[in-house]
């Protein structure tokens, strides 16, 4: 199989418009590509360091996101703060299994699996683990694809606080857990963006 990469020939692919250009001064960086006026990088700058820092921050915030209440529902005087998990349990109690499953997947499973996947990607690139490259790229694309769906709970909170506003009878207010959770979603999405998938394949170069 032919395995010549753009880099092998000293070419940079513009990450915005996809066009190829020569790496004229051989520093892996070209300023202002004429077609899209974008900067061009042979590989994303400090990809691993940036992804590590975003991932670690997300992992730390994942704790308050799950422990702190995301909202408080007051219904006929009695109110209790809800975390993400307790909200799912309540849905199970009223028998809404599909919705409970959707929220469990979007708010708990996806962020967790995403962080684990990014961790595996980072470790495998950093320590040159011999894992299947195609599988890892597939994993990376899955991370990129599903990340946005974790925003689900944020929108639900926004809808509920705006709708349920009946003073002492029924009232929903948001909680600090929502901020932490929103940050986790954004940070993991950014981490997926800063990770350069080409690094997975680069090690082939050092082998030969």
């Amino acid at each position: 199989m032919q395995t010549t990469t753009a880099r092998d020939l000293g070419l940079i692919r513009c990450e915005t418009c996809g066009k190829l250009a020569f790496d004229v001064d051989h520093d892996g960086y070209q300023e202002h590509y004429p077609r899209c006026h974008g900067h061009m990088h042979m590989r994303a700058t400090n990809s691993l360091a940036r992804t590590w820092s975003l991932l670690i921050t997300a992992a730390i915030l994942y704790i308050p996101a799950n422990v702190l209440p995301i909202m408080t529902v007051t219904y006929f005087g009695s109110g209790s703060p809800d975390t993400i998990m307790s909200g799912i349990i309540q849905l199970l109690q009223i028998g809404s299994y599909p919705v409970a499953a959707v929220i469990f997947i979007a708010s708990i499973l996806v962020p967790l699996l995403k962080m684990v996947a990014l961790l595996i990607l980072l470790l495998s690139v950093q320590f040159k683990w011999m894992l299947d490259d195609r599988q890892r790229t597939r994993m990376y694309r899955a991370v990129e694809l599903v990340g946005r769906w974790s925003m689900l709970d944020m929108f639900v909170i926004a809808l509920l606080v705006a709708l349920v506003n009946y003073g002492s009878i029924a009232h929903i207010v948001s909680g600090p857990g929502a901020t932490a959770f929103g940050s986790v979603v954004v940070l993991t999405m950014l981490a997926a963006t800063t990770f350069d998938a080409r690094l997975i394949w680069d090690k082939e170069r050092t082998d030969d």
Binding site: C36, S96, A158
Partner: protein, 210 residues
């Protein structure tokens, strides 16, 4: 040594493999042989479609955002909410960052995407040139994944189920406009051939500005 880059050379976004661009049959899709990343797709009349969808989307955007998406009835009183109101309430409750996030993903970014596409496809359709075209397309590319209307749609369904036991929930006119907007923007994104648009932008830069 390589002195010029052949026009049909491309590199895979995810594994940097150097490839030669070949024509795909109608409806065909080219995948990277090494990492299976979708490289490009065959599309026809891309610009007209994009322009039509951008205009439709903008027209739907107005009622979808100004009209209430759903109403709640409890003890004889009715409250309703629009898309942006949720962010406003969050802002008032002091969750500024969350409010900003929700507002951007559900209102600002979808609107910016529609406006940028209207600008780009409008200029290309009329065969005019503007020095701002590359910037518009670049910003579109960067904000693309941060518009989350489809996630918002699912959250409406979840909210309905959550409120079921508490009060009666009625879908409002805004919701139907919103569903239309969602369909239009999803079609616009999936039918958009970014390579083709860049090709045309590059081509248009040679023409005199409008």
């Amino acid at each position: 040594m390589l002195t010029s880059i052949p026009g049909n050379w491309i590199a895979c976004k995810d594994c940097d493999l150097l490839l030669e661009r070949v024509a795909t049959p109608p409806g065909g899709k080219a995948l990277c042989p090494r990492c299976e990343n979708p490289l490009y797709q065959h599309r026809e009349q891309g610009i007209e479609r994009t322009l039509a969808l951008a205009i439709t989307g903008l027209l739907l955007f107005i009622p979808a955002n100004l009209l209430p998406v759903m109403s709640l009835q409890l003890i004889g009183q009715e409250t309703s909410t629009t898309i942006y109101e949720g962010s406003l309430v969050l802002f008032r409750e002091g969750l500024y960052w969350t409010a900003l996030l929700v507002f951007s993903a559900s209102v600002v970014i979808p609107l910016c995407k529609l406006l940028l596409m209207l600008f780009v496809s409008g200029y290309l359709y009329l065969e005019r040139s503007s020095p701002l075209l590359p910037y518009a397309m670049r910003y579109y590319h960067h904000i693309d994944e941060w518009g989350m209307l489809e996630v918002y749609m699912l959250s409406v369904l979840v909210a309905v189920v959550k409120l079921k036991g508490m009060a009666s929930v009625i879908p409002d006119v805004g919701l139907y406009c919103f569903i239309g907007l969602l369909l239009v923007t999803t079609l616009m994104s999936s039918l958009l051939d970014q390579d083709d648009v860049w090709e045309q932008i590059e081509h248009s830069q040679g023409r005199n500005p409008a």
